[in-house]
């Protein structure tokens, strides 16, 4: 469907230009109103120093990836801890990672391994909430069913969305393929909510919900509709509208932009990539999501949250990792970093890959590993992060950091620093409570290039 709309037979992107749709009688669509909020956002970039990163791709490995089997192996630990995987050398002398990450081992000189991440929330929903918002949640784990369950605290993507706005026609904060549990806007309100793709780009019929003009509407017909809409708006009751309706107008303009902009439709059209490129990332959910993320960054998106699940390996940890989980991640991450680098985008695109926790050093009776938030490895690349660094060290069983432990606020403060967002900026919650973007935390100098 996507191809039909944006491909050769019905090319909105070039046959009917956005300009033509928007410009009717010399004013823009819906009466020449401006985009005050959105433009103001872009002017709000809250830093005096130029930021290192323009955008951030956040790969959330939901469930908690096993750091001790992936990035922080302990071959000398007892058998009930170390597991079957062997460490292999990487292109960085002295840095070893797991044999199940062969592709990453070849580009370890491009990213940083932070082994000393630690926090004390050992549950999924609450831990994820903390990671994605910087605030431990006020609800108990397991109580918040459904999404979104961060009613109060805005997530990183929503903060970035508010502080930086979009750099193009695409929305500033996009989630792919699904919503990141607590990835919502919290008290910032719906205007900072993520644009959630809710469709897997690895599927052959991938299309973005509500973005695709339905088959039954030809581009000419769509143009007729938009023209009629704009003409009626200019005459009708909405003309004088102030406040909310005016904001909706700006969203309509952006929605039309999104549907008709060559840049935006190109960005979402992951199918237009060459087969070779698509294979490089892997025809997997995480692979094609990462490829789509790169395209969205090119189109001006600021924050892409990639949701990749099933890392909660309580059972059959090793086979799951080796067969199902690690290979697509290894391929996707290495392809993403390499691709960004080759396109000259790595220096201003920050890539983070982590889960809400690590996993227990002790192997359980089901040959699985359980929750272990005291220690996790975080992978960082680009956007002002050192290349090829190995930061932090853990004890003999990868149970806890031996070096300075870095918590979630430290990590988020560092992310915002790189993106040029003032982490100390304060917004008032609906109760009037002042809430800094990040509550405390220290910049992790060690990872900065």
């Amino acid at each position: 469907m996507w191809n039909k709309v944006f491909g050769t037979d019905r090319r909105f992107c070039d046959r009917i230009t956005r300009r033509r749709m928007l410009r009717v009688g010399g004013t823009s669509l819906l009466g020449g109103l401006t985009l005050p909020t959105l433009l103001q956002l872009q002017a709000n970039a809250a830093t005096s120093k130029p930021p290192k990163a323009k955008a951030c791709i956040f790969l959330m490995l939901e469930g908690g990836p096993s750091h001790i089997d992936l990035w922080d192996l302990k071959p000398d630990a007892p058998a009930e801890v170390r597991g079957p995987f062997k460490p292999i050398s990487t292109v960085v002398p002295g840095t070893q990672i797991s044999e199940i990450l062969p592709l990453c081992s070849h580009l370890a000189d491009k990213f940083t391994i932070l082994r000393s991440h630690s926090h004390n929330d050992n549950a999924h929903q609450t831990g994820r909430h903390w990671v994605l918002t910087g605030y431990p949640p006020s609800f108990a784990d397991g109580q918040a069913k459904g999404v979104p369950f961060n009613e109060l605290y805005p997530s990183i993507g929503s903060i970035v969305s508010r502080e930086l706005g979009s750099d193009g026609d695409v929305p500033p904060y996009i989630e792919v393929p699904n919503a990141l549990g607590p990835g919502g806007p919290g008290f910032y309100g719906a205007q900072y909510a993520p644009f959630t793709i809710d469709s897997d780009p690895a599927q052959p019929d991938f299309s973005v919900r509500d973005l695709t003009v339905p088959d039954s509407i030809t581009s000419e017909r769509f143009a007729r509709r938009v023209t009629l809409l704009s003409e009626i708006e200019q005459r009708g009751a909405g003309q004088q509208a102030i406040g909310r309706p005016q904001a909706l107008t700006s969203y309509y303009e952006r929605a039309v932009d999104l549907v008709t902009s060559p840049q935006a439709c190109k960005a979402f059209n992951v199918q237009s990539e060459s087969t070779a490129m698509r294979e490089r990332y892997g025809y997997t959910s995480i692979g094609q999501s990462a490829l789509l993320a790169r395209r969205l960054v090119e189109a001006g998106c600021r924050f892409i949250g990639i949701d990749h699940g099933s890392w909660d390996t309580h059972f059959d940890n090793f086979a799951s990792l080796e067969k199902t989980l690690a290979p697509p991640m290894d391929r996707a991450f290495s392809a993403l970093v390499t691709d960004l680098d080759q396109r000259g985008m790595l220096d201003d695109t920050l890539v983070i890959m982590m889960g809400e926790m690590g996993r227990t050093p002790q192997i359980n009776k089901d040959v699985g590993r359980d929750h272990w938030s005291q220690c996790q490895t975080v992978i960082l690349a680009g956007g002002g992060i050192k290349r090829g660094a190995l930061i932090g060290a853990t004890d003999s069983t990868a149970s806890s950091p031996m070096t300075q432990p870095y918590g979630i606020q430290d990590l988020l403060r560092t992310v915002f620093h790189l993106l040029g967002v003032d982490a100390d900026k304060v917004y008032l919650t609906p109760l009037g409570r002042p809430l800094p973007i990040v509550n405390g935390g220290k910049l992790i100098d060690e990872v900065l290039a």
């Binding site: 069913k145 509500d210 009629l228 809409l229 909310r244 904001a247 109760l431």
Partner: protein, 806 residues
């Protein structure tokens, strides 16, 4: 506590003429205070200088005045009118503005032999104003970098201990006061996360230094702070005009002190007037009213700012009931001209959506518009209030507020409670009875009753927070941990209220359901002192609890008394906000003396009216909707374009998600299909707050996790725009083979009649003369009649006029 509230309310209701006690002297200059006494080296007095304008309005010229003294070296005066002592003695302070001059007698003593510094009176306010004890810094629950102060300084003893005793006493060094860590950090002479907070050798620095030098003593005798007052309490400003405030703290024994420098200032409406750190209020060019909140050591006062438009005449519109003159009075004061009455079609659509969350059908609109009866507006309101959709719609609104959440109280519980709420609304149960029934609910959460309210809120504190916010409009949760920053409430009040809910027993019966039993409870313990806090209503005396009886009964009786200052106001404000688009108080469930209504007289009149109606909500709604004010047009004029809070024009209101989805279904003639629900059911009839529906999510359906009315997404989003334009839901309905567009296209209606039907169905009006030719043009090719009808319907659904209630 009671006393504070009375003072606060008095402030709100009295119209205080600025400095009315001037007498009748001819000099146009006035200075406040008329005489100054400074009694310590660090004392301070804010002067206010006013000049009477030609119209006789006092204008603040404090910053334009020139200050001088004949006796040199006694006092210094800053250009902004702040007087500080230099040495003991007397002086006449000359204040000169243009040709006019006046003098103020100044006496300075206590510089040579200063009175001791008081920790509570002098030091704590500085720590507050400098931000040291704010929630983002050392006032955080866990402190900051090892130094913890009580937030906003509510716990003097703990703060004294933290500063003087902790950390081996290195925070204060009486022998070398300048080397005290407290001062080194505050002045950023050593690295300080918070940066520079107090300038070296400033007045505050000298005061802290002297306190340390005097060996940082704990106060032997505490001067009890009675209240604070602000001058002027009301002020009228011209565009971009300004007014310096002066804040006085009154202590027991009627001794007062100027605390302008230590007071904290916050405007409730920066778009109209903002307040600086020093208490200088500056207006913008937006006409309207603002309240400046002044806070000092847990005491609060407000200054009300009026910013009339600088020109314009006011023609008083007609009056339908008591609401209208009260609104016109305010608009006349502000010189804002109201919009004219909305036309019939706009009114009809508005009143349908507001009362029953449903569009008029094309037939209803057509016949009502044709009806020549002069009282047809009044009649349609009365009819709507008796329609079943009224009960559906308001049951859903109340289920939202009461947090009827399928996941929290089981689907059966949600059905039971929604049914109970709907029944109450359908039979128009008086609001006070409705609330009493909720607060005293007992029995199975599966029975048709509000018992599940006590399942949603599983503990006394949650109940206290929700009951207080929902039914009293008081956001007490701030006081769970610290003194409410904008109010008098503290932990004592919080635990006193929670104490009413300690007797509720929740017995599991089956599959997640509970049996609620109300028993005698026990008092909650104060977390700081550990002492029991006797149960009491907010601002009320300790409750007289009958022994071995359900405490909730006592609470319900107290909460729903008409004399309860909160109970009626919050429901008045809720309904007013629903119909008028903005509460008299905003946020609408945050009633505080420091957050006054934008029209206090109207609020009081409405409150009295609802009490007189014995809480009959339908009758009250009829009064609201009958008013001329409700029926104004949303089209703005030059004078009321910027007005958002005085009801000079109708507001553009976002409609709830369920209503918008129903509107689309109704306008297209294609009902939405909800999985597991009978065909034709409407979204406003569905009790299941978690029914999967992308449309409802995109349109901002709340998830029912807090009783805050703010939870419902009222702001438009791009996803919403995309959804209306492109979603299968909208597109399929527009193009459905049995849909309205297809049916009309297949009919033998002429072009204009077809367009009329589409307009009436979607917008409840006929096309305008300007729109008519565009429609004829769209339908010009007979072969594409259905396609054109679909395009027109699509267009109408995507108009702002459709998406909003206006």
């Amino acid at each position: 506590m009671r006393q504070h509230i009375c003072i606060g309310l008095a402030l709100l209701t009295e119209i205080v003429i600025p400095l009315a006690a001037w007498g009748t002297e001819p000099s146009p200059l006035r200075v406040c205070p008329e005489a100054i006494r400074l009694d310590s080296p660090e004392s301070f007095e804010q002067l206010l200088v006013f000049e009477l304008s030609d119209e006789g309005i006092p204008v603040d010229v404090t910053r334009q005045a020139a200050y001088s003294t004949l006796a040199a070296g006694v006092v210094e005066v800053s250009p902004s009118g702040q007087v500080v002592p230099v040495s003991d003695g007397h002086a006449d302070l000359r204040v000169r503005v243009g040709k006019h001059e006046t003098t103020v007698a100044v006496e300075v003593r206590g510089v040579a032999a200063p009175p001791p510094v008081s920790f509570q009176r002098d030091v704590v306010p500085i720590l507050s104003k400098a931000g040291c004890n704010s929630g983002g810094c050392h006032g955080k629950a866990e402190g900051k970098n090892g130094f913890k102060l009580s937030v906003f300084g509510y716990d003097t003893a703990a703060d004294f201990h933290a500063i003087v005793m902790e950390d081996c006493g290195r925070r204060v060094s009486p022998a070398a006061p300048d080397q005290s860590l407290l001062l080194l950090k505050a002045t950023a002479q050593v690295p300080h996360g918070g940066g520079l907070k107090i300038e070296r050798n400033s007045r505050w620095y000298r005061l802290l230094r002297r306190w340390i030098q005097e060996r940082g003593a704990v106060d032997r005798q505490v001067e009890h702070l009675v209240d604070i007052s602000v001058e002027p309490a009301e002020v009228t400003l011209s565009p971009h005009g300004s007014q310096q405030l002066r804040v006085m703290a009154r202590y027991q024994g009627d001794h007062s002190r100027c605390v302008t420098a230590e007071g904290e200032y916050q405007s409730n409406n920066d778009a109209i007037a903002a307040a600086s750190r020093d208490g200088l209020v500056t207006a913008t060019d937006v006409p309207g009213e603002a309240a400046i909140l002044v806070r000092y050591l847990g005491q609060v006062a407000i200054c009300r700012v009026t910013r009339p438009r600088d020109e314009g005449t006011f023609a008083r519109p007609p009056e339908r009931n008591f609401i209208d003159p009260l609104v016109w009075d305010k608009l006349e004061l502000l010189r804002i001209a109201p919009s004219p009455l909305a036309d019939d079609a706009t009114f009809l659509r508005r009143v349908f959506l507001d009362t029953i969350g449903t569009l008029p059908t094309a037939a209803e609109a057509r016949s009502w518009l044709a009806d020549p009866a002069p009282d047809k507006r009044r009649r349609v309101i009365a009819e709507l209030l008796n329609r079943p959709e009224y009960a559906d719609y308001w049951a859903q609104r109340w289920s939202d507020l009461l947090q009827v959440d399928r996941d929290a109280i089981t689907p059966q519980g949600a059905v039971a409670m929604t049914r109970w709420v709907r029944g109450q609304i359908a039979q128009n149960a008086p609001y006070d009875e409705f609330v009493r029934a909720i607060l005293m609910a007992q029995g199975s959460t599966l029975s048709e009753s509000p018992a599940a309210f006590f399942q949603v809120h599983g503990d006394p504190e949650k109940l206290a927070r929700s009951v207080s916010q929902l039914f009293l409009g008081v956001r007490i949760e701030c006081a769970q941990c610290h003194h409410h920053p904008f109010e008098h409430w503290d932990q004592q009040d919080y635990y006193a209220l929670a104490g009413f809910f300690t007797g509720i027993v929740r017995q599991p019966i089956s599959q997640g359901a509970l049996k609620i039993v109300g028993k005698d409870g026990e008092d909650m313990k104060h977390p700081r002192t550990g002492r029991p806090v006797p149960a009491a209503g907010l601002g009320a005396a300790v409750a007289d609890l009958p022994p071995h009886a359900d405490r909730c009964r006592t609470l319900a009786a107290w909460a729903t008394r008409p004399e309860n200052p909160f109970f009626t106001r919050v429901i008045v404000n809720r309904l007013w906000a629903h119909y008028m688009g903005r509460g008299l108080v905003e946020p609408l469930d945050d009633l505080r003396t420091t957050n006054p209504a934008s029209n206090e007289r109207l609020m009081n009149a409405l409150t009295d009216h609802l009490i007189a109606l014995h809480y009959d909500l339908k009758a009250f709604t009829q009064t609201l909707l009958d008013s001329y004010v409700y029926q104004l047009s949303s089209q703005v004029n030059d004078s009321n374009r910027l007005d958002l809070q005085n009801y000079s024009h109708a507001a553009w209101k976002a409609v709830p998600a369920e209503v918008l989805l129903d509107m689309i279904s109704q306008a297209t003639g294609v009902p939405e299909e909800f999985n597991g629900w009978p065909r034709g059911i409407r979204a406003i009839q569905i009790w299941d707050n978690r029914l999967p529906s992308h449309s409802l999510e995109v349109f901002g359906r709340p998830t029912g996790r807090s009783g805050c009315a703010c939870e419902r997404g009222a702001e438009p989003t791009m996803a919403q725009a995309l959804h209306l334009m492109n979603s299968p839901t909208a597109v399929r309905k527009v193009q459905h083979r049995d849909g309205r567009a297809a049916r009309l296209a297949a009919s033998n209606l002429g072009t204009d009649e077809l367009v009329d039907e589409l307009y009436l169905a979607a917008l409840s009006r006929f096309p305008t003369d300007g729109e008519r030719p565009l429609m004829r043009q769209a339908l010009a090719r007979p072969a594409d009649r259905r396609e054109a009808a679909e395009d027109i319907l699509w267009t109408l659904l995507n108009l702002r006029e459709f998406v909003f209630n206006h």
